[in-house]
């Protein structure tokens, strides 16, 4: 369809909506934002007649590549180190995608602009596509990769794993609370516009370097839809900016959305890219370098900064602190170390790091070895069962961390941990901003104004609480992270499948008590707690 006829066709379909006079659509989802003064236009100009064949063509390419990968024996070349992390990544990502579809009516409810509704409805169909195409990719991995365990229980494992709740924020945040906070600022303005760059562009590049060219095939196809979604988000953002009353809410939501995306996405994708790869070329970009390019330059400098001309206060401090955490405070490395510490309760295997990895990390992140090197050496030493317990339960100088009540990633930058009694319970937060998120932002009032539509933090936010004082073997049985012989664990701290003696079983972890740091913290006297917190913050957590 030519541009001119597309324009005419789009003009025509704007005639479909009308101003109702008998009844107005149900307002299922509220917002505290106001849009009375908003300009109205649809940035997308997408019509179904051109949309469906375009997507069908994209699908054909993806499925053709999948057939080709199987015929070409791609799995003889994929790195197991990489594929194991896909068990986690692909367990998480279909839910945020489908949540984005479910978020669209929230945006439609909130924004009284029929012209933009069409674009949002198209986005809804895109998101159904993304969710199912990613599930299908995972199905293919399960069928053709050497170790299907973990892929085979994917949606169950994700729903009961500690790692699932970290990922689930990137999904539940789209569909809950204030409709504009959720479906616009968090979903499109920050998650899709900023962080899908590392998710769907940087990470697939790393997949290809590890012999997996299906992840790039699927995710680049997904990313090609995202640019349209970004337009939807920007359009609603400009509409919100037309009313001065929205400015404070936008600033609140940008701070919350930026920081939560940083905490969650950088934790996960940073780990997959840095610890899932076998490509240790020194001129290969580190996650920090990718972040600088895709997030700092492409998003912060090119997208966020220009919003200042509308009088919006941009969270410069949080952008800089995110960078600081990634580059100077070893955020990603601390998360990877935590995932590896917790290997017995994962549903994937984690490959030990080698000398070649150490050299690369030290080159890219000077000081890495002093902080993490000896711990990874211990991980390597303790990787087989029989003579030792899992590393988390051996004395290697690593203190198991508290979990952040807001972002649910543990408080790994220990000196930054905030501890406060909120809603009658002592809670730990990874940072001042995460404390603010719970104590200030997600509340029914904000800076003196009523915010009755803002969401609330709920759920059993510390996963360990579910299993306080359980035997570790019972935890694994409850989670069902056990292979089909009824005893061998799905998670393993190595990739050696050729000798069953090297594989950990329930018997190897029986008798090990599991504890909740938060319950323990709340059981302490005030004095004990203060001492504990001071010691926690001061502990460099380095293996001697």
């Amino acid at each position: 369809m030519s541009r001119q006829s597309l324009s005419k066709a789009h003009q025509k379909i704007t005639e479909l909506s009308w101003e109702p006079s008998f009844a107005t659509p149900a307002q299922r989802f509220g917002t505290d934002y106001k849009f009375e003064k908003s300009p109205k236009k649809d940035p997308l100009k997408q019509i179904m007649r051109s949309y469906f064949p375009m997507e069908e063509e994209k699908d054909d390419r993806v499925y053709g590549a999948m057939d080709g990968a199987i015929r070409g024996n791609m799995f003889r070349q994929v790195q197991e180190r990489w594929m194991e992390w896909q068990k986690l990544f692909l367990s998480i990502i279909p839910f945020p995608e489908i949540s984005a579809a479910r978020a669209m009516p929230m945006a439609i409810d909130a924004v009284p602009n029929p012209e933009i509704h069409n674009g949002l409805a198209v986005q809804m169909i895109d998101e159904v596509r993304h969710s199912t195409i990613q599930m299908n990719l995972k199905r293919l991995y399960m069928n053709h990769y050497i170790d299907p365990a973990g892929f085979d229980m994917t949606e169950q494992a994700w729903a009961n794993s500690y790692s699932g709740t970290i990922g689930r924020q990137f999904g539940e945040s789209f569909i809950t609370g204030d409709a504009v906070t959720a479906a616009n600022v968090y979903l499109t303005v920050v998650a899709e516009t900023a962080f899908t760059n590392t998710l769907f562009v940087a990470m697939p590049g790393e997949a290809a370097a590890n012999g997996d060219y299906l992840l790039p095939t699927v995710f680049h196809s997904v990313q090609s839809d995202e640019s349209r979604h970004i337009s939807n988000g920007y359009s609603i953002l400009l509409m919100a900016l037309a009313d001065e009353d929205n400015r404070k809410l936008l600033e609140r939501d940008l701070r919350h959305a930026w920081w939560n995306n940083h905490c969650v996405v950088d934790a996960a994708i940073g780990t997959f890219i840095e610890y899932g790869t076998k490509d240790r070329r020194k001129d290969r970009d580190s996650y920090a370098e990718m972040w600088r390019r895709w997030i700092y330059d492409d998003y912060y400098r090119s997208y966020l900064l220009p919003l200042e001309k509308y009088g919006l206060e941009i969270p410069h401090d949080l952008v800089e602190e995110s960078w600081n955490r990634i580059v100077n405070k070893f955020y990603v490395h601390r998360v990877a170390q935590f995932f590896a510490t917790g290997w017995p309760v994962n549903f994937w295997r984690i490959d030990p790091m080698t000398d070649e990895d150490f050299e690369w990390f030290e080159e890219k992140y000077p000081g890495w070895y002093n902080q993490f090197g000896r711990w990874w050496e211990a991980y390597n030493r303790l990787r087989y069962p029989g003579r030792n317990k899992p590393i988390a339960f051996e004395d290697v100088g690593y203190e198991y961390p508290h979990r952040c009540w807001s972002c649910m990633v543990p408080c790994l930058i220990r000196e930054d941990m905030v501890v406060e009694k909120v809603d009658g319970r002592w809670k730990t937060y990874c940072s001042e901003t995460c404390y603010w998120t719970d104590a200030v932002a997600f509340r029914p009032t904000y800076e003196g104004r009523e915010t009755p539509n803002m969401g609330r933090l709920t759920g059993t936010r510390e996963w360990e609480t579910l299993y306080h004082n359980w035997d570790l073997a019972d935890v694994l049985q409850d989670l069902q992270y056990v292979r089909d012989d009824g005893k061998t664990l799905i998670p393993q701290p190595h990739l050696d499948l050729d000798d069953e003696k090297k594989l950990w079983t329930l018997d190897d972890i029986r008798g090990i008590p599991f504890a909740s740091p938060n319950i323990t913290l709340n059981e302490m006297s005030d004095e004990e707690r203060e001492q504990h917190i001071a010691a926690y913050r001061a502990n460099p957590n380095v293996t001697p």
Partner: protein
Amino acid sequence: MVTQDTSKQRSFPKPEFTDAEAGAVTFPSSESRSFNYFSPKKKRATIYEDVTVDVQPDTDRYLSQGWIYAFQNGPGGYPVDWTGLKSTDWHRFRDPNEEWEKTIYHNNSNVVRQIQQNLENAKKAGAYSGWSRGWTQFVERHVGAWMHAENGLGMHVFVAAQRSGPTNMINTAIAVNSAHKMRFAQDLALYNLDLGESIENFDGSMHRDVWHSDPVWQPVREVVENLTAVEDWAEALFATNIVFESLVGVLFRSYLVMQIAARNGDYVTPTLIGTGENDYERDLRYTRELFTMLTGDLEHSTANKRLLQEWVNKWAPRCSRAAHELQPIWSQPQEKVVMFNDSWSAAVDGFRSVLAEFDLEEPKEMAK
């Protein structure tokens, strides 16, 4: 001539043969190659089930930490009480159309191609030149007005409802339904645009006036607007797909336009309207499956039937009135092939047969 820049060393990752393919080694779970966290409807799971089931988690299944965000005045996630209907296991529902992305794009693209070819051929063949002024006005006014009903329901009933169902299988089926409705509405709008370019004196904006103010269409608009205002997602779905579509949608599309167009020299419009009918057949299939499951629920059958009967009693009279108000348009075309009463009887027969499947009764007013 081939040249190579040797001034700098190219850097690229080195592929390695890892032998990480299925079957390379035997170990516990090495043959575990199916998703094992749900029971497929048949012996083996379909691709549709594999890519759809449990992607939307549930605290009644595996979601051990619960929903981690909530609305200020209620729970988060997908509360089952967002409808008055109840199920002992919402997850039993499977879409008989087995819709996932490949079917969505395949089916809708086929429809798009079919329509575009028909319209191109019609233009080339001068198919509109034989239309009488009466028929042209019928298409201009009434086929034109119908696009609004389709779009309003697509955007504000189905797009809205797909946020609210308690399982991914239900919400995805509803999302596909909304895509059908919006595509069909746009097809009607673009057909209207085509006709405006092809037929002299065809008023391409008349459909808006008719939808807004022609008295015969106002009760239809009133029902459509009221359907969009329903908060209970299952009521909106039931009232639209079972009641409104049977008594108004099918009446207008199948038992009026499809019957009379050819006799009025129009072989193009039915091909377009037929795609809407085909969509509805698919959408009715999943809707029937869902409400059959709920009316047959071991624990909640009686309560569900009672509530569904209330919805029938609430919506059927409104739809019946809207249908009857449309009656004058049956006599507008030159060739009056069908009588309103015959069309209405056929529509009511269809409605009765669906109600019978759910063990529901038609309202007394309609039995007269």
